[in-house]
């Protein structure tokens, strides 16, 4: 073996050793949470870590449907917080949750438009205007499913220009002014206030999204998972969620 090959081997072995020791950190808690929970769970994470300094909360954020697939394919996670029941139900049916899923928050829909509302959008009716650039979440993502339900209730066939992979991606394009309007959650509009304006969707067309949370059967850290879920359901956890625009169930 020449010296270059030796160096290569040494680097490889060193890398492998470092990687192993890195993954054995104790008290790591993996929380897979819906993209719409990004800010609220970040706030929750710092409060939780203040109260439990031994735990390191790692948030895995994405569309609930993507997270569901990860869990069903065996990706390690301790807790799953979904933006709708159907994704949670599929995980539960596969026997991947331990105990019962509990609703911990509700959210409702709003029309999001860029600041100043350049396209003068006023209601869901405007989603049929072909000259506008309209974005929704993809059909299988909760916000996309709920948004389509609201449009159906309003009797509007939308002229869609893009189906974004999750609500944050949709919001980003509205913030940038590249889309004229989209349907997101109230909480997303709140988190992006300043660069996005929210227009109310009347209650008879609006859909209330219920967020279930559950500890997972394959949790690498089941005790911590239980503590986290209790924290989310506690008065303090609920207060944090409310401050980000969610409602208590």
């Amino acid at each position: 073996m020449n010296s270059a090959a030796r160096l290569l081997v040494a680097t490889f072995v060193l890398g492998a050793v470092t990687a192993c020791s890195g993954s054995s950190v104790e008290g790591e808690l993996l929380v897979s949470a819906a993209a719409s929970l990004t800010d609220a769970f970040a706030g929750m994470e710092s409060a939780f870590e203040d109260a439990n300094p031994d735990f390191d909360v790692v948030l895995n954020l994405g569309s609930s449907s993507a997270l569901r697939e990860q869990i069903l394919e065996g990706a390690p996670a301790d807790v799953f917080a979904s933006a709708n029941s159907s994704n949670m139900d599929q995980v539960a049916e596969a026997g991947e949750i331990s105990g019962e899923a509990k609703i911990f928050a509700t959210n409702s829909l709003q029309i999001a438009v860029p600041t100043g509302n350049p396209a003068e959008v006023t209601s869901l009716e405007d989603f049929a205007r072909e000259e506008l650039l309209i974005g929704l979440c993809a059909e299988d993502v909760p916000c996309g499913d709920l948004g389509r339900q609201a449009l159906a209730k309003a009797g509007v066939i939308p002229s869609i220009d893009t189906n974004e992979p999750d609500v944050r991606a949709l919001l980003t394009k509205i913030e940038a002014g590249e889309l004229d309007a989209g349907i997101t959650y109230v909480t997303d509009v709140l988190s992006a206030s300043g660069s996005v304006e929210g227009l109310e969707i009347p209650a008879e067309m609006n859909i209330v999204a219920e967020y279930p949370i559950a500890t997972l059967a394959g949790a690498p850290n089941p005790d911590a998972a239980v503590v986290w879920v209790e924290f989310v359901l506690s008065e303090k956890g609920q207060a944090i969620l409310t401050s980000y625009g969610f409602r208590s169930p």
Partner: protein
């Protein structure tokens, strides 16, 4: 490494450790494809492949990746020539900028494109006012995203080939009375031919598989901007069979092109 004369003799027996590590490396490429193949819904495959989601995505991917390659030829080869033949200050910076899309996460590239060429972007706003052309959420947007991410492969390969080309051949042809066009056609192009083709293949393959910049810049709409990789990504969450079938299409098409061209041109790399 060759300074120590005894090294050459010791390598006669294949070093076991290297073979083992190399095999692990190989397994990292093979295992995922085996996993994919194990999930292919073979009996439903014809029906799934005939669905409009699949045919739309395949057609769009073919059209946009070929257009991106064509654009790379038109503007990328002159750029490679400038970098190889013109002596100007800031050439290292130019080379860095050209290489940047190879290193950057494509999502960052897509965001940069959005901020530059979006309708509120630096260039995009005037582009829309002047021509009415709106790149985001359009098929042209996909072509632009593909070109941005894939063109460096062509520029870098052709630039390298031009720099290694002994300019005396071109000089000799010119001194014998060949016009610039003749020199390019009869001397330069044939000599860099293999690299050029290899660069074209890499560029096309990268464009064909582009995901991050496309979804960030051009969005995702079936028939307009939803290329094969985007369709796979969306289908993974809704319809596993379609996702796997689409993935299979991508693997087969890419492999066919890479293996098919290998015998003739690939060696140039």
């Amino acid at each position: 490494m060759k300074a120590d004369g005894s090294l050459g003799q010791r390598t006669r027996r294949p070093p076991v450790l290297l073979v083992v590590l190399g095999s692990i490396g190989l397994a990292m490429f093979v295992v995922p494809f085996v996993g994919l193949l194990a999930r292919v819904p073979w009996s439903d495959l014809p029906a799934v492949l005939a669905s409009d989601v699949v045919t739309d995505a395949l057609r769009l991917s073919m059209v946009t990746s070929l257009m991106a390659t064509a654009i790379a030829v038109v503007v990328g080869i002159p750029l490679a020539w400038m970098m190889a033949r013109l002596d100007f200050r800031g050439r290292p910076l130019v080379r860095g900028l050209v290489t940047l899309p190879l290193v950057l996460p494509p999502v960052v590239g897509g965001a940069a494109l959005l901020f530059a060429l979006g309708r509120r972007g630096l260039v995009g706003e005037s582009l829309e006012q002047a021509t009415g052309l709106l790149l985001p959420f359009s098929t042209w947007g996909v072509v632009v995203a593909n070109t941005f991410v894939a063109m460096p492969f062509l520029v870098i390969t052709v630039e390298g080939a031009l720099r290694n080309l002994d300019q005396r051949y071109e000089g000799a042809a010119a001194s014998l009375g060949a016009s610039r066009w003749t020199v390019l056609r009869r001397v330069t192009l044939p000599m860099i031919g293999p690299s050029l083709v290899a660069g074209l293949v890499l560029t096309w393959a990268r464009a064909f598989g582009e995901f991050g910049a496309t979804i960030t810049f051009a969005g995702n709409l079936q028939g307009r901007t939803q290329t094969l990789p985007l369709a796979v990504f969306v289908a993974l969450e809704s319809d596993r069979d379609t996702a796997v079938a689409l993935s299979l299409v991508m693997v087969v098409v890419s492999l066919a092109v890479l293996v098919g061209l290998r015998e003739r041109w690939w060696k140039a790399l």
